[in-house]
């Protein structure tokens, strides 16, 4: 019996890939992450019932290896609010870097179009779509639950929308929905991702705030306040993780005016021309490139200067009192 087990372990160690996977697994299981249970079970069955022949065990190891290649070893970039605007272009930008994608938004048809576009660029990429209404707390939790089988290298909380009205005149239902998406869903997804990936080398969380996450303007006070929340929460999380020696990197992207569906949604109008109405703005494609720049940098904040419209990488803006 021991002899059999020993032989099996020798088999494991002979295959570096499997050993590495097993090592990864022991790291990952405590964080309740990933694992295809049937294959996982199969491995243990083959350990428990000494196989009739050496070959039969090799077969199961082989299957396991395939599974790990298709599961754990494929890394994914999650992007919320991917059906249009900065999220859409960010998906294209990460795809250009060869990243597999998990795309989240309410509108399934738009997600499917984006998936087709990306796969026509690079058919090797795995693109998973997750139609989800992030204003619904139950759907937010179900989404994260469904992401547990993937290895998420980068998580981009980009979903969000604005409103154009004074506080005294704003639509309360729309405002509450905005709070659920901009604040609550972002917090829940950031918290769960930080919990699972705090110690993962190469993992990164990017939360999309706004230039209005650092200054307030009338007729967008509540929207600005949601983005102050995002900036403070994300700056705090980034520094708290650094204080605790975590490997997960956390960053804030703060666009200023960007050509997206933002103004249409905020003002509830059918059409809006940025070039006709706005002096300075970035295209969503430009913002997606800034996101990649931020991703690659060591800085925590990537912010568009609202006067010059330069993209600036910088240290956190708000006061943070470390307990160290």
């Amino acid at each position: 019996m021991y002899c059999f087990l020993l032989r099996y372990f020798v088999c494991f160690f002979a295959s570096r890939k499997i050993v590495y996977n097993l090592h990864l697994r022991t790291l990952i299981i405590p964080n309740t992450l990933i694992l295809n249970f049937p294959v996982y079970k199969m491995l243990f069955l083959s350990l428990q019932q000494p196989a009739q022949s050496h070959e039969s065990f090799i077969v199961s190891v082989h299957l396991l290896s395939i599974h790990f290649n298709g599961g754990i070893h494929m890394k994914y970039t999650v992007i919320t609010g991917a059906s249009s605007g900065i999220g859409y272009e960010a998906a294209v930008a990460f795809a250009t870097r060869g990243k597999n994608l998990i795309l989240v938004a309410r509108r399934e048809a738009e997600l499917n179009n984006l998936k087709e576009n990306i796969q026509s660029m690079n058919s090797d990429l795995d693109v998973v779509i997750k139609p989800t209404d992030l204003s619904d707390s139950g759907q937010v939790h179900a989404l994260y639950e469904s992401l547990k089988e993937y290895d998420i290298e980068t998580f981009v909380n980009n979903a969000g929308f604005g409103n154009s009205a004074t506080v005294a005149e704003q639509d309360v239902t729309k405002t509450e929905k905005m709070l659920r998406v901009n604040v609550e869903a972002l917090t829940t997804l950031s918290t769960l991702y930080a919990r699972d990936y705090a110690d993962r080398e190469g993992a990164q969380l990017i939360n999309v705030s706004s230039d209005l996450g650092y200054r307030i303007v009338p007729n967008a006070v509540t929207y600005a306040a949601t983005k102050f929340y995002v900036s403070a929460f994300t700056e705090g999380l980034a520094q708290e993780l650094q204080d605790n020696g975590a490997r997960l990197k956390v960053k804030i992207l703060a666009p200023s005016m960007t050509e997206t569906e933002f103004v249409k949604t905020a003002r509830e109008i059918d059409d809006f021309s940025y070039s006709d109405n706005v002096q300075k703005f970035h295209t969503a494609k430009e913002m997606a490139q800034f996101m990649l720049e931020l991703h690659d940098s060591e800085q925590i904040v990537g912010k568009v200067n609202s006067e010059t419209y330069e993209f600036e990488l910088m240290d956190p803006v708000f006061q943070y009192t470390s307990r160290k």
Copy 2:
């Protein structure tokens, strides 16, 4: 017919109280505020059907007058989170100024105790209790609906709680509840109050933020972010209303460490001694006095300096780009 109507109007004008009330009513109806519909209707019925006798109309005017005395003309201070801590002491402080109170919190027994305490101090005061769980959006709306029959002079959004954990380790359910109370309920109640009272002379909204609404600390990142939201939202609302020439005044109270149930709730422990564990703190009674100071001042922000523990009245802190 005209003769009858004329006589009725003479009756109105003879009674200054009623004229004043009618004047108030025309001011108030466009803002969809207050009015006991049965009495309101009765007045118009008596105008429409010339009464058989003069006396019968006098009776209805008399009733109307009683109603207005008990309704419109009594002014109230609403305080959320009134069952303990700063909210409790604020209720006592406003009562000492002779203010009628509407007290909101989850715990009905505590509200009843507070009501008894206040009425033993001053039996003339009307104290209304509204047991409400502000983490439940439906209850928040029902609460505001039930407040429409009162004339609210001052609205204090004090309800809120904290959490003591890193983001990666925080309880997601508790965090979401914190967002609903600290952010969503405060936003909904502020929005509805601003809508109804923007043009009311003497009306005031005080939102309780925190010293941590202006600086972040580890192990309270999400709580701090909710308070950044409160600070930005409330500073923005105050200035937006000023820009638009509104009469409603809006202010931010930002306590630092205060002896309340805060630490017990944040850390989920049964007991906590501030004097044994915290170098500097204010009592809830002191904070309630600071709230009155802020109420009486022309400044928008009243903040405890986290180093000196002095209470400082000041201009808004965050950048606000007026469109004026």
